[in-house]
């Protein structure tokens, strides 16, 4: 039986030759992403913005009456509602901002939600309420802080782990790759204005884990090759390591990709944002493992000696004592 080989044996792509342009591209992507976040802002869902979100399915329609809903809910006087398709064309999410100061009035927000639902149900009898979320401004603020904290803590913890298991240059390289992945994902959400919620933060943390998988597999091979080929120039050694692990990189990305695609197409609509973020992160993470994590090692001066135990003064004395030196 002939087996499928996605990457031919003895592939030798000169990835590192293009390290400067790609590194510049990465920096541009990071800066551009942050610019997009600052200019466009993220479309925070109720988790982070606070407010009232109602999700509905219009059971007897192909297409949800979005403009009609906007007008209807806008007419209730709570401010401009955000009405978006949510998954299927006949499903919508309606976000209503909470009036100033209402966070402190128990029940006021939920009353707004009930009013929105009742108003829509009256006008559109086929509307089925799928869900109804209320998050007060204070709780939303806490969610934001916790999310930022979790991202920073995860990034710091894994970078320290890599620093301990490898060398400091590797820790810094991994950290940079992570900053890249997180930034670009945020940029993507700023550009598309997809709803940014707690689930998306979960997705980003999953991406951090996944992208690191890639980085670590390449790093592990670099470490191995550094011990094996002591005289090889570093750029060449990095290329060799990336090429040697390329078959694995492609195969793993592909298996995860084919598992995610059905979830994007057939999966529950409320998971779409999360799965889209993970799918995007799959590509972003693979790219950063090769073009961010690798070249940084060159510029930070990793050498073959990094993994040879250094001889301390004490070792030296002992050697002299044993008459070996």
């Amino acid at each position: 039986m002939k087996l499928l080989k996605l990457v031919p044996d003895n592939t030798n792509i000169k990835f590192l030759k293009l390290r400067v342009p790609f590194f510049v591209l990465s920096i541009v992507l990071i800066v551009g992403s942050w610019a997009a976040v600052l200019v466009n802002g993220l479309n925070f869902g109720v988790d982070f913005a606070g407010g009232q979100e109602v999700r509905m399915t219009f059971e007897e329609r192909e297409q949800a009456p979005i403009p009609g809903l906007r007008e209807l809910v806008g007419g209730l006087g709570y401010g401009e509602p955000v009405v978006q398709e949510f998954g299927a064309p006949n499903q919508v999410s309606i976000r209503v901002p909470l009036p100033e100061g209402v966070e402190d009035t128990p029940g006021a927000a939920t009353a707004i939600g009930a009013k929105v639902i009742a108003t829509i149900a009256k006008q559109y009898p086929d509307a089925r309420t799928d869900g109804n979320d209320t998050v007060s401004g204070k709780v939303a603020g806490e969610f934001r802080n916790q999310a930022i904290l979790a991202l920073l803590a995860a990034m710091a913890a894994v970078s320290i782990y890599i620093w301990v298991r490898f060398e400091w240059q590797f820790g810094v390289g991994a950290m940079f790759a992570l900053v890249h992945d997180v930034s670009v994902t945020l940029g993507l959400f700023a550009l598309t204005q997809w709803e940014f919620s707690l689930q998306i933060v979960a997705a980003i943390l999953a991406i951090i884990g996944y992208s690191l998988n890639d980085t670590i597999v390449v790093y592990d091979r670099i470490r191995e090759n550094l011990k094996k080929y002591r005289k090889m120039p570093l750029a060449e050694l990095l290329d060799l390591s990336v090429n040697e692990t390329l078959a694995r990189t492609v195969m793993t990305s592909l298996t995860l990709f084919v598992a995610l695609i059905p979830l994007l197409i057939f999966g529950p609509p409320s998971l779409f944002g999360m799965v889209a973020a993970i799918t995007a992160g799959l590509f972003i993470g693979t790219y950063s493992s090769i073009y961010m994590a690798g070249p940084l090692l060159i510029w930070m001066g990793v050498t073959s000696d990094s993994f040879v135990p250094t001889e301390t003064a004490l070792d030296r004395q002992e050697k002299i004592a044993r008459g070996e030196a």
């Binding site: 087996l3 999700r55 966070e103 402190d104 128990p106 029940g107 927000a109 009930a114 309420t129 799928d130 869900g131 109804n132 979320d133 209320t134 998050v135 007060s136 709780v139 969610f143 904290l149 979790a150 995860a154 913890a157 894994v158 782990y161 890599i162 298991r165 707690l198 933060v201 979960a202 943390l205 999953a206 951090i208 884990g209 690191l212 998988n213 670590i216 597999v217 592990d220 091979r221 191995e224 692990t245 078959a247 694995r248 195969m251 793993t252 298996t255 995860l256 598992a259 995610l260 695609i261 059905p262 979830l263 057939f266 999966g267 529950p268 409320s270 998971l271 999360m274 799965v275 993970i278």
Partner: protein, 532 residues
């Protein structure tokens, strides 16, 4: 590495099958088949986003507790001074900035007053709950200590949690979760709830019931303007009552608090057809109520719930039997809610809903169906890819993958973990990423073969060299999973749980189990060459 003694094989199979079998009840349940009742039945809990239901986060405001403690202290002090023999006269009482201060009419009473107050400043615990200071020799200032306030908040939350539990139990819902969270919060999760509004109404009601005499001397125009005569205070009428929008002046003192109730039932007044709530006092409350009504026949008294007047009927005759009824323009539902609230006791502190998430039951079932479909298709695609790429080794990886999913489900059922909607995404990622270990190993074996190693040596090196990267990669994944678990709430936590358990089981099945499969085959067949 190819040595697998019998005991080790039995142990590995034992662990794998034990966990995999645990997944069966959950699988049966999802597929709509009946699991035989005689067998043990551990099941994966479905999160609210899959089962449908309501999640509420309730919060008490520390300020409310502060204010309430001050009010209680004021009442206590007034009573102590009044009951002192001879009576100690006080005036200029104020409760502001967390302090209770009052003036003694006679400076000579100061030591007696101190002696009376000091014992009540100390609570049941060793914490000092109040500071007492004497200003200008005639004014006593009581300041709440932070420790005292903290203690009071804690006490209030403990009993509030209990009251919430009793109220929800009255709704007759299945398996509600009620957990105190942090200092001032309570999480309430009620799966499969049909009517979240009822739940919210029920919990939003403090149910602090009071009976106070209407101040007949108050001038109506002053009352409407919010100006209370001395010794009285103004309460608004509750929305929905005929007098809604109006106000009532009631005497501050001499009323009865409804916290000595033993029962409350909603019913209908046979004469008027109105919805009413019948309440029963305990002996002490009944005596007080009898005294109040006997002394005030013919006068109106206000029935006040949570600071709003429900109604102010005339006392037609003394009410002696310890039973009373509350009228106030109820609907059948609101009468029932009030009865439940009164039965389960008043909340010691008002609770505000700061987060609410409700998912309709239809959506949950729909999500499960779609999630399973996606998982099925995804698994088939991954399996096809693995078998096409690695042949026999791909088949082993596939077997490990299936066992991995079953084990993951089994462990979740056993540990009582909750499967949420993002958790389904976690399953899919686990399926996609779990084969990573096998990909690493198989690619390495391929490489070693290409370098000319013999079959067994190549397989051995493949497993050994790949293990290091697998270990590092998965440990970092667990670290980010833990970060996710630590900060996540509800559904996101469910994702983290699947991710973390999935990483552990996938390393077990992907590395250890496949090695046993491969070793068994190599030992039986001793192939000179392998297709990989």
């Amino acid at each position: 590495m190819l040595e697998f003694p019998l005991w080790k094989k039995l142990w590995l199979w034992g662990v794998t099958l034990a966990f995999a079998v645990l997944s069966l009840p959950s699988l049966f349940n999802v597929s709509g088949l009946d699991w035989p009742a005689a067998l043990p039945n551990p099941q994966v809990n479905l999160g609210l986003d899959l089962a449908g239901g309501s999640h509420l986060l309730l919060e008490a405001k520390a300020d409310d507790v502060r204010v309430q403690r001050l009010t209680n202290m004021e009442e206590t002090v007034r009573q102590l001074m009044r009951n002192a023999k001879p009576r100690i006269r006080i005036g200029d009482v104020s409760t502001a900035n967390g302090q209770l201060s009052f003036m003694l009419n006679d400076a000579g009473d100061i030591d007696r007053a101190r002696g009376l107050i000091e014992p009540v400043m100390q609570g049941a615990t060793v914490t000092r709950e109040w500071d007492l200071a004497v200003v200008d020799g005639q004014r006593i200032v009581l300041t709440q200590t932070d420790a005292g306030v903290d203690q009071a908040i804690d006490d209030a939350m403990v009993s509030a949690t209990e009251v919430v539990r009793r109220r929800i139990d009255e709704l007759g819902t299945r398996e509600p979760t009620i957990i105190r969270q942090g200092d001032t919060r309570i999480v309430v999760q009620v799966p499969g709830l049909e009517d979240p509004d009822a739940l919210r109404d029920l919990l939003g009601q403090t149910a602090q019931l009071e009976f106070k005499l209407v101040d007949l001397n108050a001038l109506p125009e002053n009352v409407q303007a919010g100006i209370a005569p001395a010794g009285s205070e103004i309460y608004p009428y509750a929305p929905g009552t005929p007098q809604s929008g109006g106000f009532e002046a009631v005497r501050r003192l001499g009323g009865i608090r409804g916290d000595s109730l033993t029962g409350a039932q909603a019913s209908v007044d046979p004469q008027t057809g109105q919805n009413i709530v019948n309440i029963t006092f305990d002996a002490q409350g009944g005596t007080k109520f009898a005294k109040l009504t006997t002394e005030n026949v013919g006068k109106p008294f206000a029935i006040i719930l949570d600071g709003q007047v429900l109604s102010a009927p005339n006392i037609n005759e003394p009410i002696l039997g310890g039973q009373a009824r509350i009228s106030g323009s109820f609907t059948a539902e609101s009468a029932n809610n009030l009865a439940i609230s009164l039965r389960s006791g008043a909340l010691p502190v008002p609770l505000a809903v700061v987060e609410e998430r409700t998912v309709g039951p239809d959506l949950g079932a729909d999500s499960i169906r779609k999630g399973l479909l996606a998982m099925g298709i995804g698994s088939l695609a991954v399996i096809a890819l693995m078998v096409a790429s690695y042949g026999r080794f791909g088949v082993y990886a596939t077997a490990a993958l299936v066992l991995n999913v079953l084990m993951l489900l089994g462990i979740m059922a056993l540990g009582g973990f909750t499967l949420t909607l993002p958790g389904i995404a976690g399953f899919v990622i686990t399926i996609g990423a779990a084969v990573d270990a096998n990909v690493l190993i198989n690619e390495r074996i391929r490489e070693e073969r290409a370098r000319g190693r013999k079959v067994i040596a190549a397989v051995e090196t493949g497993y050994k060299e790949a293990s290091r990267a697998i270990w590092d990669a998965n440990l970092t994944n667990v670290i980010s999973g833990l970060a996710l678990f630590a900060f996540g709430s509800g559904p996101v936590k469910g994702f983290a749980v699947v991710l973390i358990i999935g990483i552990i089981t996938s390393v077990f099945t992907g590395v250890t189990l496949t090695r046993m499969f491969v070793a068994g085959w190599l030992r039986r067949n001793r192939p000179a060459d392998i297709t990989i």
